[in-house]
């Protein structure tokens, strides 16, 4: 057949494509940037705490402890009297969503209520949180960004040349917010300074930060089941082994431990969250420390003894929450938000369900206890560049409105919607209505951030328990050599975490011998860890931290 492509021609075509692919530009990744503490101060707002008249927390807050409210305030204060949107132009915004999809604009009375209060319409482009990074990178590469865009920090470190793209596409906020200029936006000036400093990318203030809780996670236990078995919470890592033995009973489908315990053990043994200054003036990464190696050895023991739930053994990413709620697993590690989420999910069907956070504990009895310090901000809202001063100010006013802290009408409307429609208050407790469950999704809240508040008083004892735990954790907060410096993690180093920790998980599960751990650390060093160390040491030296 003379008109068809020959086999040789086809193979040539394939070869050509491989050649072209090989010649393609090597994927550029972020090499990391750092901004010194002194310069940062001139870029970000001066913090002016926002006092809500008549609202005094029952449990006082401090730098690392959120103020606690044992009961819901009888009245909420209006923090912003003027409507922030004045131009009549629709605002376009993109935000991530984990969970159910709300009805769209026009079919959603929650959107209508908030937009009415804002004085204009915000049109959300909601995108699946699990694939959000792919959409963000496509939009950044195409330059087609909405007026406001929420981007989580864990996506930022995976996006090639993010800082370059951000500097090109998003507005510099310093001219509107630096120093005392932020007085115009009092709810934005209410944020923690460290969180604002995290919004600096490539030396430019660009992201309105979502303030993180200061502690990344805790060990949680099913207190009701521990009491039923006559057991007590662990006071050290050593207690976990006898607890594992006492709890685990495969015939009763009950295992002691769930996923993520390895991070709690790394902390308990005293490994740093990331970098630590050595006595010789150099830096060492957590993987390289003796404490980390000891935690790996300890975790192997828990796995070998059969104390870890088989779902977690089979799949390190298996769902912990379901097996914890069902009582098949009693002790696991999770973020602070898991506490109220589990109470909301399991209490209605099991009134005995009692979840408690274990006080920070050391590996050995009497040992030194530390608590890792979370990054000050985890997500950022960016404003598009080139919108003009008036529009940028209008969008900042919108972000300011959305930043209303607990105790304000703005907070209530953003989080719960309209009372009597989206929620009811019974005995001082907020109960979402069916309409509220259907229509309210995290949207407006992602246009800004707000200082954390310990306010889930609808769950008996939760506020007090959280306050007590935070107070104890704050007392043992570990020092990080980079506190106060904005360091953007080099992408190469961020990309090494998953393969290294996958190998570590194989060690736990007996797929690799424990003796391979030093080899795994060496691989990490060779593949980019040493390069990252040089970068971090340079940053530390330049800031007088070494």
């Amino acid at each position: 057949m003379p008109t068809t492509t020959t086999r040789r021609g086809f193979l040539g075509l394939v070869g050509a494509s491989v050649l072209v692919a090989g010649c393609a530009e090597k994927k550029a990744t972020s090499k990391g940037t750092a901004v010194a503490a002194d310069k940062l101060k001139s870029l970000v707002p001066t913090r002016i705490p926002f006092e809500i008249p008549g609202l005094k927390p029952d449990l006082p807050g401090s730098e690392f402890v959120a103020p606690g409210f044992l009961t819901r305030p009888a009245t909420m204060v209006q923090a912003v009297t003027a409507k922030p949107l004045t131009s009549g132009k629709e605002v376009t915004a993109m935000t991530p969503l984990w969970g159910t999809v709300p009805p769209g604009l026009g079919d959603n009375s929650y959107y209508d209520a908030v937009n009415e209060r804002l004085g204009g319409t915000v049109r959300f482009n909601i995108s699946d949180g699990n694939t959000y990074g792919q959409k963000v990178s496509t939009l950044l590469a195409s330059g087609d960004v909405p007026e406001m865009m929420q981007i989580p920090g864990w996506e930022i470190i995976t996006i090639a040349r993010f800082t370059e793209a951000a500097n090109k596409l998003f507005a510099d906020l310093s001219p509107y917010l630096a120093g005392d200029k932020a007085k115009e936006f009092p709810l934005l000036a209410n944020y923690d300074t460290a969180a604002w400093q995290y919004g600096v990318f490539g030396g430019v203030l660009q992201g309105i930060p979502w303030q993180n809780e200061p502690f990344p996670f805790a060990t949680f236990v099913r207190q009701d089941i521990l009491e039923e078995l006559g057991l007590e919470q662990p006071r050290s890592g050593d207690d976990l082994v006898p607890l594992g033995k006492a709890i685990t009973d495969a015939k009763k489908k009950r295992w002691a431990f769930g996923g993520g315990m390895e991070q709690e053990m790394q902390r308990a043994f005293g490994a740093p969250r990331e970098w630590r200054k050595k006595s010789d003036g150099t830096l060492e990464y957590k993987y390289e420390t003796a404490e980390f190696a000891a935690s790996v050895e300890f975790m192997v023991k828990l796995f070998e003894a059969g104390y870890v739930h088989p779902d977690i053994v089979a799949n390190k990413d298996a769902d912990n929450k379901g097996i914890f709620g069902s009582g098949q697993m009693i002790i696991y590690r999770d973020g602070p938000g898991a506490w109220h989420e589990a109470l909301g999910r399991f209490l209605p069907d099991n009134p005995k369900f009692d979840m408690q956070a274990v006080d920070p504990y050391p590996a050995k009895p009497g040992g030194k206890t530390i608590m890792w310090r979370n990054e000050p901000a985890g997500m950022f809202c960016f404003i598009k560049k080139g919108l003009g001063e008036a529009r940028t100010r209008e969008l900042l006013a919108l972000a300011n409105w959305c930043s209303g802290p607990f105790g304000t009408q703005e907070y209530e409307l953003v989080n719960n919607g309209v009372e009597g429609k989206h929620y009811d208050v019974e005995d001082g407790k907020v109960k979402q209505t069916a309409l509220g469950r259907k229509e309210i999704a995290p949207t407006y809240m992602f246009l800004s951030g707000r200082p954390p508040a310990n306010s889930m008083s609808q769950y008996d004892g939760l506020v007090q328990a959280q306050h007590d735990w935070q107070t104890k954790a704050a007392a043992v907060l570990d020092n990080d050599p980079f506190v106060g410096i904005r360091v953007e993690t080099p992408s190469k180093m961020a990309g090494l975490a998953t393969p290294t920790e996958d190998k570590m998980n194989e060690v736990f599960r007996g797929k690799r011998p424990l003796s391979e751990w030093p080899k795994i650390v060496k691989e990490w060093q060779d593949q980019g860890g040493n390069e990252a160390r040089e970068f971090y040491m340079k940053v530390a030296r330049e800031n007088g931290r070494l």
Partner: protein
């Protein structure tokens, strides 16, 4: 040959080929067991999904995951899903996109494949080369995004159809089938005065029902399951297809970022609701497959070995 001879000696009917003979009881048992295991492997997960979708949240929380043993049946999950316009609207969107997309894709593929199957047609070699080129080069997400955006198709249902309207694989499968139709039949039609479109419509397509049905099914399943384009191009959640809603519900919050801790007060959707949506998404495929199945083997094999 030896085997045949020896079997003839045993007195078995000579007209049966070796592979048509009745296997030994042991072999039958082995085959039966294997087939049963395969059926269980296929139906087991389906059973669990359907059962979980029909279980109460109390049952799901008690077992801590997928339900294997029934403990009361409730249609609450389905009631909740269909009381919410989001899912029912998504079913309509998916149905519309699948029907329209399948018609367009199959139509364009048939036209393209037919022209490429006729040697000497206009720009035959360059076009054929371009189609084959599509096998090895993916244009990349960003150029396609810019094109869709530039054509003003963002937030339009066309963005769910046009970027993936033609699959080079399906065109090549169709072309291989069409090339196998004897040229004499087409020549006689031409002698009778039929034009190319009439030949395609009256002769080629009726002779190619099997492969066309299979290709249409490939397209239909592709459109029904597609979520990525919708994620990229559709900003209005009212226009989201079921596959994207399904992803949103099922692949949720794992891990729910701690950054949102303390604010999102509501629990994630229950497992029963997630599984109910999986059932709703799977049902059309379960209905369509048996209808097309008889064409499936024939169509794929013919397309695969000819040309």
């Amino acid at each position: 040959m030896t085997v045949l001879t020896s079997r003839r000696r045993t007195g078995r009917p000579a007209r049966l080929a070796p592979w048509e003979e009745r296997p030994s009881p042991a072999a039958q048992l082995g085959k039966g067991t294997l087939v049963t295991l395969i059926v269980v492997a296929v139906l087991g997960p389906l059973y669990t999904i359907v059962l979980t979708s029909l279980s109460s949240s109390a049952t799901v929380n008690r077992v801590g995951g997928l339900v294997l043993v029934p403990d009361g049946i409730t249609f609450e999950a389905y009631r909740q899903i269909f009381s919410d316009t989001v899912v029912s609207r998504a079913v309509l969107v998916s149905t519309g996109v699948t029907v329209a997309g399948t018609l367009i894709s199959t139509g364009v593929s048939v036209l393209g494949a037919y022209s490429l199957s006729r040697p000497g047609s206009f720009l035959h070699r360059p076009l054929l080369f371009s189609v084959l080129l599509m096998f090895v080069f993916f244009p990349g997400i960003i150029p396609v995004y810019l094109m869709v955006s530039g054509l003003g198709l963002k937030d339009s249902y066309w963005s769910l159809i046009l970027p993936t309207a033609v699959s080079a694989f399906n065109v090549v499968v169709l072309r291989s089938f069409f090339m196998n139709i004897p040229g004499e039949i087409l020549d006689s039609a031409r002698i009778d005065g039929a034009g190319e479109f009439r030949i395609l419509w009256r002769i080629v397509l009726p002779m190619s029902r099997a492969v066309t049905a299979v290709v249409a099914m490939f397209y239909a399943v592709g459109y029904w399951n597609a979520w990525f384009n919708a994620m990229l191009y559709i900003d209005d959640t009212r226009k989201w297809p079921l596959a994207l809603i399904l992803r949103q519900y099922v692949v949720d919050s794992n891990p729910l970022p701690s950054a949102t801790a303390g604010v999102t007060g509501d629990a994630p959707p229950t497992l029963a609701i997630k599984m109910a949506i999986v059932v709703i998404a799977v049902v059309p495929a379960l209905i369509i497959y048996p209808l097309v199945q008889r064409h499936f083997t024939k169509g794929v094999i013919v397309g695969a070995i000819k040309g």
